[in-house]
């Protein structure tokens, strides 16, 4: 009825030639057009820069003199003999490990608490989540203010007759402070993901376990943890990769100090490249960072098979 016109004729002999633009080909073209912006963007702003990092690490670049000179493996030799690097790795490892452990356990605890059926629970949920939406630097500045020697935390401690420390200037407490500030900022994200996972566990499983007389603690270990293990794995990947990128917090709270006790890799990279203008060496550090991120992701992906008991 509708005036549909046919681009192919109707020469209905067996030897009809197929047009080049078949339905599949047209659809494939649409597919390429859909992914083109992202693919081109990634190529220019991610993949090419990644290749350039390797290239740069073999050079030294003097921006002011506009000189770009090939230096071979010099930056890598410098890396191996860098006296500060051990400390940087140490600080990075402590920060990431501390952050992941604290973040994941607190997120799980909060999620379990928030999954209880209690009046007003959404208010708690909102409040626990709220630091996620507070501007990162604003949050860090407040904590910096709180953690000053004469700041709010010490004042409150003093009210209770306790003596605080100069949290951000004392080598033993600076790292802990940085980790804690970051955990409170972002734990809400993982908390919500865990909460959603907990709510996805079929109620009947708990009912069956209760009928079988399984204690609540065992229920948690034997039912909850296995069933939410995909979420645990995914959030741990996101959290650990995210922890390696922490920069603003360090820059605002400690500037890597005292000494180099909180100089994590990204901060060190920034210092070397953009404060000391050692762009070649900064690129070499970038490669180290890339390798760490890649290895961690790969390892956790492999662990998927062993840890994850259950997948949707």
């Amino acid at each position: 009825m509708a005036p549909a016109t046919s681009p192919t004729g109707s020469d209905h002999t067996g030897s009809r030639r197929r047009p080049f633009w078949t339905m599949e080909r047209r659809d494939a073209l649409a597919g390429y057009l859909f992914i083109a912006p992202q693919l081109i963007g990634i190529t220019i702003f991610v993949l090419i820069p990644l290749c350039l990092v390797f290239w740069f690490s073999l050079h030294e670049w003097n921006v002011l003199a506009a000189r770009f000179t090939y230096t071979g493996a010099a930056n890598y030799k410098a890396l191996l003999s860098d006296p500060g690097l051990g400390e940087v790795f140490g600080a990075t490892a402590i920060f990431s490990l501390g952050l992941v452990v604290l973040n994941m356990s607190l997120a799980l605890l909060l999620a379990v608490l928030l999954s209880q059926k209690l009046t007003g629970i959404t208010v708690f949920r909102t409040l626990f989540f709220s630091p996620v939406v507070v501007s990162l630097v604003a949050w860090t500045i407040v904590w910096s203010f709180l953690l000053q020697k004469n700041g709010g935390l010490n004042a409150i401690l003093q009210v209770f007759g306790l003596e605080g420390s100069n949290w951000l200037r004392d080598p033993t407490t600076a790292m802990i402070s940085v980790i804690v500030v970051q955990v409170f900022k972002n734990v809400g994200l993982n908390m919500i993901l865990f909460l959603a996972a907990l709510q996805g566990v079929p109620k009947e499983l708990y009912e069956a376990a209760r009928v079988d007389g399984v204690s609540p603690f065992k229920q948690f270990r034997r039912i909850t943890v296995p069933l939410i293990s995909p979420t645990i794995l995914l959030t741990s990947i996101i959290t650990i990769v995210g922890s390696l990128q922490v920069f603003a917090q360090i820059a605002v709270l400690t500037q890597g100090g005292p000494g180099m006790s909180t100089t994590v890799l990204v901060y060190y990279l920034y210092q070397q490249a953009f404060q000391f203008h050692r762009f070649g060496y900064g690129s070499t550090l970038s490669i180290v960072l890339f390798v760490i991120v890649a290895v961690l992701t790969f390892v956790q992906w492999q662990m998927r098979k062993r840890i994850v008991f259950y997948e949707r």
Binding site: M1, A2, A4, T5, S6, P7, T8, S10, D11, H12, G14, R16, R18, P19, T22, M23, E24
Partner: protein, 350 residues
């Protein structure tokens, strides 16, 4: 309205050929039902007619146009999906008018067509609702409304009733049928429910494993199935089969001899399968001995599971039966209604 012609149509997914050469001529205005077991390729074939799957080889023509490489929108077909596929974010009215919007019809024209369809399908009061606010039967009707507003050449249905409960299914079956009688649009209807096929079809295509087993009117398929597959597929409860040998004396199986349907003496000694529908076994004092295994009274009829010539069979009687499990009754097959199939190929012999 237009005829639809499938000529040696094939479809492969990778190396697997799912549709293995199908030829069907669908007459203008016909209600054609595709039946077959799950996975036999019914949906794939229907979707090839719709243009949702490409055609690996062969030809599909709608009217006098070969549509192989035409987008669905140029084929002038409408399709009703098993799960209705109503757009959840649009009202019933918008759902029904959506295709017209994209074919450059004017607003008033669209409103008129939608009103017309809503009238026919009794949807006029529901036009402002969203699909989630409708019952299953209402959604089904909206899906049909969406198909008819466009006044297409061909309707395609893919198991449209399988998400409804048994009662509603009967109601909607009648409604689809009367809609077809009213509009007279060529219809291809996929189902795996053979009752639906029998009651709705002008002609049925029985498919199995990507091939057509038989095409015919419901009663042709019922009375003269072309092979053992069709015989077993059409009819409920299914036809009884008794494997044995053709001899001059008759059909020998499990120590009994049955009379042969028709003169097929030249097949002496051939292995064959004797087929007899449950309602063609009658009680007869002179008949063959059968052991009763199970009696299921349904009210209007009684279904008896029994063992005859070493083979488990089902018989259906209009009269009420007092037999109990373990007892022996005597039965006589209605020779005129018996079927004989080749043991190896399954092809009909009589």
């Amino acid at each position: 309205m237009a005829p639809v012609k499938l000529a040696n149509v094939r479809k492969s997914f990778g190396a697997v050929e799912i549709i293995q050469g199908v030829d069907v001529d669908i007459v203008d205005g016909e209600f054609l039902v595709l039946v077959g077991p799950s996975g036999c390729g019914k949906s794939t074939l229907l979707r090839m007619i719709a243009g949702l799957e490409s055609i690996s080889s062969g030809e599909i023509a709608i009217g006098d146009r070969v549509v192989n490489d035409l987008e669905p929108k140029f084929r002038d077909i409408a399709m009703v999906f098993q799960n209705y596929a109503l757009y959840p974010h649009m009202t019933v009215e918008r759902n029904m008018g959506f295709s017209l919007e994209h074919r450059g019809h004017s607003k008033s024209e669209i409103a008129e067509r939608v009103q017309w369809a809503a009238q026919i399908l009794d949807l006029a009061k529901l036009l402002d609702r969203y699909p989630r606010q409708l019952s299953g039967g209402q959604r089904q009707r909206v899906a049909m409304g969406r198909a008819i507003v466009r006044n297409p050449q061909v309707f395609l249905f893919d198991e449209p009733l399988s998400n409804l409960d048994a009662k509603l299914r009967v109601v909607m079956r009648a409604e689809i049928k009367s809609l077809h009688q009213r509009l007279g649009v060529t219809t291809v209807y996929v189902t795996h429910d053979q009752v639906e096929a029998m009651t709705m079809a002008d002609r049925i295509v029985v498919m199995n494993g990507g091939k057509v087993e038989q095409i015919g009117t419901p009663l042709e398929l019922y009375d003269r199935p072309a092979n053992r597959f069709v015989a077993g597929f059409i009819g409920s409860p299914a036809m009884n089969f008794l494997p044995g040998t053709i001899t001059r004396a008759g059909f020998e199986a499990g120590g009994v001899t049955l009379p042969l349907p028709g003169p097929i003496a030249e097949r002496d000694g051939q292995d064959a399968v004797y087929g007899i529908r449950p309602e063609h076994l009658a009680l007869d004092g002179e008949g063959l001995e059968a052991e009763v295994l199970l009696v299921e009274p349904m009210g209007s009829e009684t279904q008896v599971t029994l063992r005859l010539a070493g083979q488990q069979m089902i018989a259906v009687f209009r009269e009420r039966i007092s037999a109990r499990p373990g007892e022996t009754i005597r039965l006589r097959p209605d020779v005129a209604a018996a079927h004989l199939f080749d043991a190896a190929s399954g092809a009909r012999l009589n």
